[in-house]
Symmetry: C2
Subunit: 348 residues, 2 copies
């Protein structure tokens, strides 16, 4: 909807940066909402200009989720805090098996944030929302004094509708299930690290930030009985699998040699001392499906632009319950733990 | 549910303060979620431990809203950031005419926040949620590095169901409508200012922070045809009325002599140079009702603990549209503008 060249709708000459008054409930906040947020996110629900959006739900189950985004830097190769805030919450809904419908947007702005920066982020949110076919229907703006925030933090909450009768959750995972992964891992975390450290890798790594609702919808409409899904954000593939093994009380085995990691990502991980299995992704997920549907599900994934590099990375058995075992490149087996301590602060 | 004496479930001796790793997606974040948030907010939806909550909606309209809370200080007379984060979002839903059902909770914690402080806030949220009969069903935690936040910011989004067929919005306001206010104004803002400035007023002022869903439900079940409601947060009574007059294209007249302001609040406003009409409240709202139901609505409000001091403060006519006129104590008429600039930063 917005070309890159669209001028910031708040005159930069008048308000080059965000002021405390932009969060004060008065004229300036009103202008910011009307001229920037409603202009960018405009849709019939948001245009009501009420404290909340009122909508008619279908008579089906709904999903509700929230995430705050504090990524640093705000802009990185392959995305920015705005696209991340939309795609991240869209993906949480998709992982519940829901079709994302509506997002809220809560901004915590630091006094002095350049208005142009905010506008760039807002445009990116609109583009990401259009791309994921969701509407931003309600919002809130707070401004904190200089030095008490860090540019901009964004919270998005999301509502989606569940169009099927599957119970997609760790408790639905069964021994015999096959684990599919939709592509190469480690790019988001390494893209952020490259920006932060000013590293010039041989080939620049871009974040995998993307909305997963389309590929999930493709799996569901192909009749795949998905048992569980999880997107591989903070803590990466390893933490997601450990969480599911523990919550579902099943045993998971995965094979390192079939987990795709791009060469430049592997190199960056080696230089910086990271294990790609623990690095955050923003467009990757694991999907637990019955063995009899594994080939079909893999074919569906591979025919989607976000699943071209999909692979079958492991399987589920019953014991030892709660444990994840990785067979390494050289054939050795090792227990995968949850990430301990902090690996990459403010990655999302 | 929680006595004041309940010990912080994260051993203070091990983790006296929040670490970056408490937001890292690994073991520590897992512990924080399990031991503190699930312990405090626990309910069947949250206990699913999935990325989002899935629920069966009634076949009716729903409302969806969000607010971030950045109030400083975190604790004040009459409330804290936790109770504010619950009541504020409950009130936004109530103002849509919705019965609040579910809240999300997104925490942005600053590295080094005392764990005991977080626990106190979390307990307060649970108590406020119980009091308002809502459940906190999904959440998220991010930790930012020391100096890049300010203790804790909380976002809550909320979902409510609309049990009636009224369209409660500025567009429904009609000439002839009567404007009701549920009690004295200015307490929340002055309670915060008193804490910040270390002022010792003769009688200590406590915030009016409270959930308004009960009193709204009482009005609706009495058959009051509510045309519009608005809670009087940032920007106070004046900004709320100006917003409604502009959005509904009606003319509003209010009478200063019948707007309740407590003596100590009036005194504090005079000392600090504030106009109570612009000071934030967290448990006050205006309600636009047809004239024929005004007495009945007032009686319903006064029979509710949050409406004991309710009064009829003005009325709606058709022109000049978009304008709010106040008749002052001495009989003079003045135009009420929206708050210009920032009066009380970080009041909520």
């Amino acid at each position: 909807m917005f070309e890159n060249g669209v001028t910031c709708p708040i005159p930069i000459s008048d308000y080059p940066t965000v002021l405390l008054a932009h969060g004060g409930g008065g004229t300036l906040m009103h202008q910011l909402i009307e001229k920037m947020f409603v202009a960018a996110f405009g849709n019939p629900l948001l245009n009501n200009r009420h404290d909340g959006a009122v909508f008619d739900p279908a008579k089906r189950r709904h999903a509700f989720t929230t995430d705050s985004y504090v990524v640093r830097p705000l802009f990185f190769r392959g995305g920015d805090i705005g696209s991340l805030a939309v795609n991240g919450t869209v993906n949480d809904l998709a992982m519940c098996g829901a079709r994302p419908l509506y997002l809220s947007a809560g901004f915590i702005l630091e006094e002095g944030l350049p208005m142009e920066t905010l506008w760039r982020i807002v445009r990116s949110m609109r583009a990401a929302a259009d791309n994921a076919a969701v509407s931003i229907v309600t919002g809130d703006t707070k401004v904190v004094d200089r030095g008490k925030g860090d540019g901009v933090f964004i919270n998005t909450a999301g509502i989606g509708v569940v169009d099927h009768d599957l119970v997609i959750a760790p408790a639905s995972v069964r021994p015999g299930d096959v684990i599919l992964l939709n592509g190469d891992i480690g790019r988001h975390g390494m893209a952020i690290m490259a920006e932060r450290e000013g590293l010039a890798f041989e080939s620049a790594i871009e974040s995998d930030c993307a909305p997963l609702n389309g590929i999930v919808a493709a799996l569901l409409s192909a009749g795949i009985e998905i048992h569980c899904m999880r997107d591989l954000t903070r803590g990466g593939l390893s933490s997601a699998l450990v969480e599911i093994a523990e919550a579902g009380q099943v045993h998971i085995r995965i094979d390192e040699s079939v987990i795709p990691v791009r060469e430049d990502v592997r190199g960056a991980c080696e230089i910086l001392g990271f294990d790609p299995l623990y690095v955050a992704n923003e467009g990757r997920f694991v999907c637990f499906v019955p063995a009899r549907q594994a080939d079909q599900a893999l074919a569906v994934m591979r025919s989607n632009p976000l699943g071209v590099g999909a692979s079958r990375i492991g399987a589920v058995s019953d014991s030892p319950a709660g444990l994840v075992i990785l067979t390494s490149w050289i054939g050795a087996a090792r227990i995968i733990d949850m990430l301990s301590g902090e690996q990459l602060p403010r990655i999302c």
